[in-house]
Symmetry: D2
Subunit: 140 residues, 4 copies
């Protein structure tokens, strides 16, 4: 099981705004991508979970922006599990620019388990066993 | 039946890019919104069509960009039907800035009818009867 | 000065995801739109502030999602000022579906003042005087 | 000089819509990314071109959608130069799913050279020399 997983994203022109930096809402998309890769690495591909009738819906999201990301930069997005309960799971994220080590943003999201009709459900025990919480490696 | 319908959109900060203008792909979102309102005005709400098992999927899209749209501007998006066949329908669009009458972009999209399993389908005759082609009011 | 301002947004097809609901990051775009209208109503149009060399950059954003928004729904987005200091301002948001009064999400964002070179700056006193904090009308 | 360059994108959840497929406008973002990598491979990084005062603005864009891309799929996006003139350049694109070789979409965009004040400009000869047109490898 991964304790943490990291993806790299190349900033898209479409992700910038007229301030010349990445628009703040787009960081949550990167978090989503990092979470998808974390789940894949943990042997619980989100695509497969959805095919099996599970939905993980975001119920809480927050981010702190420290330094702007810019067009064409490579950004490393780390993702880890903060807490797991039977019906909900929280992830932490850190976005850093490898070129200079600068921390750009941190974030956290909490997701709840729903079935395919969007009714409250539970995270299957076999999946939950693979999602091991770890202390935050950076301050969120 | 409307021959044409017009919506107004206020340019969102999120729609701009670091060139200081609206990112080109976002104009297709405005076309989609104008098409949705055209269908509603024609008594064929797309939400209702989907609920009834129909999907209209874009198979062809093109746009010509003449002058940039900018943050906070109001943009009028006109939409009309260009052609209708049993399985496909083409729409035309013109995006104009009412403040100075400037034409910003024109576009066209073609959509095909699919059923809820994404198999080829036909536009229901009752819907098709409401979608009346009109000559292009502007050159596309 | 407005104590609060409200906009209505019609959910775009582009804003939905394959879960059949609005993708969570898009709510922050609606908050941004509501903030833009709040500022305009307060006589401090963000477009004019930018033209005068001020930037308001998001440094902190969070949202709680209670019930999903869906395609074609009309959503009311309320915005108010929570706190103002010389260099930073916090806004609160509540997103509600007028059709049934359902609260869909609440959010808050904090922005800092930057100059046109992205250096720390201050909110001009004349602008600050127009941004009057009010107690949260709903629990965030 | 590259005759063609190819990137791979992993479909993001944010890129899907409630039809369960990638929203049509998002393919133009992938084309933009592929063009950025083509230019980098040609020794004419777009970030550097912008820093040197050049802007390439899209004046024409079109796409044909043949088969839908879905969440989590890897999509190969090929990009090549179709035509170059002193003030404008056209690119072609083909989007294919490597897993089964399926062609998903083709596209083309034309861009014009602008200076940093958005006035018409020319593509610097040194850049133009690196952008070598090639016959379309697939039918657009």
């Amino acid at each position: 099981m991964p304790v943490e997983s990291t993806i790299e994203v190349r900033v898209r022109y479409a992700e910038t705004d007229q301030m010349g930096v990445v628009y703040h809402a787009n960081y949550f998309v990167w978090c989503d991508m990092a979470r998808t890769e974390y789940l894949r690495a943990a042997g619980a591909s989100y695509k497969d979970l959805e095919a099996a009738g599970l939905r993980l819906a975001v119920v809480d999201a927050s981010a702190r922006y420290k330094s702007p990301a810019r067009f064409d930069e490579l950004i490393a997005v780390r993702c880890w599990v903060r807490e797991v309960e039977s019906r909900r799971i929280s992830f932490g994220y850190a976005m850093q620019r490898p070129a200079d080590g600068r921390m750009l943003a941190t974030a956290q999201t909490t997701l709840i388990a729903l079935d395919s009709h969007h009714a409250l459900s539970t995270i299957p025990p076999g999946v939950r066993a693979r999602l091991v919480p770890t202390p935050d490696p950076v301050r969120l």
